[in-house]
C-alpha cells in the first residue's frame, strides 16, 4: 500500500509547457515556430513514458525543454513536487535529471578519453573528494554499462556504435540521477545491438529505480520499453494512455494511422493488415493549420475541427485524447 503510494506520486510534472522559437523572416520580421505548444503530462516514479511522433513534431524539444537546455517560453516543470525556476534550481535539478542523446557519434567529444567523458559530470558537480574516488566511480560506471575497465584511456572513435552508446549512458548515470531523458537512444544502432541496449535500459531501471522519458520514432521499441505512451503531432500531444491501450485500441485518428503504418516483421500479418495510409505530409509548424493540427490529413475532419483546438480530455480512466470527434469515430 505505502509503496504503491510512493510510486503513484509523479516524479516529473509538466504543466502547459510551451517552447516557441523565433524564426527570422527577413526585414526585421520574425515569426514564432511553435515547437511545443501547451503540453502537460506527468511521469511517475520508476515509470517509463514513451514519447512518439514523426520528425519535426517536437518530441526532442519536449525532452530538452524539460531539462531546461532550452528556456521554456511558458509553462512549468515540477521535479518531485518542486517548481524548477531559478538558476540554482536548474543546477540542482541537473544532478537528478540527465540525458542520453541519439547520435553516439556526435555526442561524444572526440578529443576526450572515455574516462574524462564519463567523469565530466562528476567534475562539474564536484561529486568526489579526491582523484582516487573519481577513478573508482568512473570504473564502477563503466562496469555497470558493460564496458571493460581497460577501455578507460581510449578515445570514442575506437568504439563501435553500440559501445559508444554505452559510454553515453555511463555519462548520464554518473551523477546518480533519478530521471533520464532518452532521446532516440537506439535508433542509430543495428537490430542485434539495439536489443542489447534496450535490455540494458531495462536492467538499469530495475537496479537503480530510474524514471525514463523515452523518445523514439520506432514504435515497436517504444511499446516494448514503455509503461505509458504519449503520441505527439505538430507540437501537441494528441493521445496519452498505457502502452497496451495506445497499441491495442488507439482512439485518435493520427495514432490509429501511425500504428497501422508500422511494418510488422511477420509476412502473414503484413499481408492481412489494413493499413491506413495518410495523404500528404506534415504541415510546417510555421504554418500550422487552425484548430486541430491534424485536420488537414484526417479522414474524419469536420467543420468544428478547423475552428478550435480540441481539449485534451480523459475519455476513459488514464486514456487522454485530443479529438473533437473521438466519440463518433470509435
Amino acid at each position: 500500500m505505502s509503496e504503491a503510494n510512493i510510486n503513484d506520486r509523479p516524479l516529473i510534472e509538466i504543466k502547459n509547457l510551451k517552447q516557441y522559437f523565433n524564426i527570422n523572416m527577413g526585414m526585421f520580421r520574425s515569426k514564432p515556430l511553435k515547437a511545443v505548444d501547451d503540453v502537460s503530462f506527468t511521469i511517475n516514479k520508476k515509470e517509463t513514458l514513451g514519447l512518439v511522433g514523426e520528425s519535426g513534431c517536437g518530441k526532442t524539444t519536449v525532452g530538452r525543454t524539460i531539462l531546461h537546455l532550452y528556456k521554456p517560453t511558458a509553462g512549468e516543470v515540477f521535479y518531485d513536487g518542486r517548481l524548477i525556476k531559478t538558476k540554482a534550481d536548474i543546477k540542482e535539478f541537473r544532478k537528478k535529471a540527465t540525458m542520453v542523446f541519439q547520435d553516439p557519434y556526435s555526442s561524444l567529444n572526440p578529443r576526450m578519453t572515455v574516462s574524462d567523458i564519463i567523469g565530466e559530470p562528476l567534475d562539474i558537480h564536484r561529486m568526489y573528494s579526491g582523484k582516487k574516488e573519481r577513478e573508482e566511480k568512473i570504473l564502477e560506471l563503466m562496469g555497470r554499462v558493460g564496458l571493460n575497465s581497460e577501455h578507460a584511456s581510449r578515445y570514442a572513435h575506437e568504439f563501435s556504435g553500440g559501445q559508444r552508446q554505452r559510454i553515453g549512458i555511463a555519462r548520464a548515470l554518473a551523477v546518480n540521477p533519478d530521471f533520464i531523458v532518452c532521446d532516440e537512444p537506439v535508433s542509430a544502432l543495428d537490430v542485434s545491438i539495439q536489443a542489447q541496449v534496450i535490455n540494458m535500459f531495462d536492467e538499469l531501471q530495475e537496479m537503480l529505480g530510474l524514471t525514463y522519458l523515452f523518445i523514439a520514432h520506432d514504435l515497436l521499441v517504444v511499446r516494448h520499453i514503455s509503461d505509458r505512451i504519449a503520441v505527439m503531432y505538430l507540437g501537441k500531444i494528441v493521445e496519452l494512455a498505457s502502452a497496451d491501450e495506445v497499441y491495442g485500441r488507439p482512439l485518435h485518428p493520427y495514432s490509429k494511422s501511425l500504428i497501422s503504418a508500422v511494418p510488422v516483421p511477420d509476412p502473414k500479418k503484413a499481408r492481412a493488415n489494413e493499413r491506413i495510409i495518410l495523404k500528404g505530409d506534415i504541415p510546417s509548424p510555421l504554418n500550422a493549420p487552425s484548430g486541430c493540427p491534424f485536420r488537414t490529413r484526417c479522414q474524419y475532419a469536420a467543420e468544428q475541427c478547423a475552428q478550435s483546438m480540441p481539449d485534451f480530455k480523459e475519455i476513459e480512466k488514464g486514456h487522454f485524447v485530443a479529438c473533437h470527434r473521438v466519440e463518433q469515430i470509435n
Binding site: 537490430v191 536489443a195 511499446r223 516494448h224 503504418a261 511494418p263 509476412p267 503484413a270
Partner: protein, 336 residues
C-alpha cells in the same frame, strides 16, 4: 531463364589497412516480376552487392571474381559501354537518402528530363511530357508546377517519389531500392512502400529491396536473402525465412526485434559486436557471436544446404539435425 543471375560474386575494397572482403561468394537469381529482399546489418555487404551489380563501386572497390548475368548477358568485365546501356535503362537504383541524391542547383523537371533524354530517343518535348506523366504516376500533385521547382522545395517523402519517378522513367526491368524508406517517417514510409508495391504490380518489374528492417521485408518481399559479413546465411521465400528460419543468425535477428509478445519481457539480443571485415575468422563468420556454435563452426564454413524447394541455409546446425534424425547419412571412412 532468370532475369538476373549472380554467381559466386566476390567484391573487395583495397584500403591502406588491407583488403576488405565486403562481398564473399554471393549467388542468387531473380525472376521477372519478383520482389527480392536483401536484409542484413551495417557492413553485411548488402549495398555493396547491389553496387556490384550496377558496377558503381567507389574507386577502391573491385569485383574480384564471379559473374553477374542480366538476361543471359555477362556484365562483369563487359566494359563501360555495355554498363551505360544497362544502368537506368534495364536496371535502375534508388538510394537511401533522398536529401542528397538530387542536385540542389537544377529544377526537378530538368533532372527528370535529363534521365529520359540520356536513355531514350525522345526529343525535349516528349521528354517533358514523359516526366510530367511520371510525376503523376508517383502521385505528385500539380506535376507541371512541381517540374519548375527545386529539390529544397520538396519534402523528404516527395523527393523519394521524384527519385522513384526518375528510376522508372525508362521502364527498367529491375529496380534496386537501397533502403528507400529508412530516412522517412513511418506514415511517409507506408506511403512510399505502398506506391512501390502498386507500381510493381502495374509495371511488372522486378525489385531488389535492400533493407535492415525486417518489417519492411515482411511487407514487401516474395523472397528474402539474409546476409552477414559479406555472405549469404540463408535464402528462401519470405514465409520460410520468417516462420522456419534455419540459420542461427536469422533466428537471432528475429528474436531481437521487439513485438507484441515481448512487452514486459527481456529481449534476446545477439551477443557480441559485429565482425571486423579485416580480420575474418576461418570458420563461419557468425560463430563468434553464435550461442549454438560447435567446434566445427569455428574451423570450417558450412556449405549452403537445400532445406526444401523454397529454402537454402548454410549452418552446421542443419547438418547436425540431419544426422540426428537420419536424413543425412555419413559415409564410412574408407579403409585401405
Amino acid at each position: 531463364m532468370a532475369l538476373l543471375e549472380v554467381k559466386d560474386l566476390h567484391t573487395s575494397f583495397f584500403t591502406d589497412a588491407g583488403e576488405v572482403r565486403a562481398v564473399n561468394g554471393v549467388s542468387f537469381t531473380l525472376d521477372r516480376g519478383r520482389v527480392l529482399g536483401i536484409v542484413g546489418e551495417s557492413g553485411s555487404g548488402k549495398s555493396v552487392t547491389a553496387y556490384s551489380i550496377m558496377q558503381i563501386l567507389a574507386s577502391t572497390g573491385k569485383i574480384v571474381s564471379g559473374s553477374v548475368k542480366f538476361d543471359g548477358e555477362e556484365l562483369v568485365g563487359a566494359g563501360e559501354k555495355v554498363m551505360k546501356n544497362i544502368r537506368g535503362n534495364k536496371i535502375s537504383i534508388i538510394f537511401q537518402d533522398p536529401m542528397t541524391s538530387l542536385n540542389p542547383t537544377y529544377t526537378i523537371g530538368k533532372q527528370l528530363m535529363e534521365a529520359i533524354l540520356l536513355h531514350t530517343d525522345r526529343n525535349k518535348k516528349e521528354a517533358y511530357d514523359r516526366a510530367v506523366d511520371m510525376l503523376r504516376l508517383v502521385n505528385v500533385n500539380e506535376p507541371e508546377k512541381r517540374m519548375k521547382q527545386y529539390p529544397f522545395e520538396f519534402s523528404g517523402g516527395m523527393r523519394q517519389r521524384v527519385m522513384i519517378a526518375m528510376a522508372l522513367a525508362c521502364e527498367p526491368d529491375i529496380l534496386i531500392a537501397d533502403e528507400p524508406s529508412t530516412a522517412l517517417d513511418v506514415t511517409i514510409q507506408a506511403q512510399i512502400l505502398d506506391l512501390m508495391r502498386d507500381l510493381q504490380k502495374e509495371l511488372g518489374m522486378a525489385i531488389i529491396m535492400i533493407t535492415h528492417d525486417l518489417g519492411v521485408v515482411a511487407q514487401m518481399c516474395d523472397e528474402v536473402i539474409v546476409m552477414y559479413a559479406g555472405s549469404i546465411c540463408e535464402q528462401g521465400t519470405a514465409d520460410e525465412i520468417f516462420y522456419n528460419p534455419r540459420h542461427e543468425y536469422t533466428k537471432g535477428l528475429l528474436n531481437s526485434i521487439p513485438t507484441a509478445d515481448t512487452a514486459g519481457k527481456k529481449l534476446q539480443p545477439i551477443t557480441g559486436t559485429p565482425i571486423d571485415l579485416l580480420n575474418m575468422p576461418a570458420g563461419c563468420p557468425f560463430a563468434p557471436r553464435c550461442g549454438a556454435a560447435m567446434k566445427i563452426c569455428l574451423e570450417q564454413r558450412a556449405e549452403r544446404m537445400q532445406i526444401n524447394d523454397d529454402h537454402m541455409a548454410g549452418c552446421w546446425m542443419n547438418v547436425k539435425r540431419g544426422i540426428e534424425d537420419g536424413s543425412i547419412v555419413l559415409s564410412e571412412p574408407e579403409n585401405e
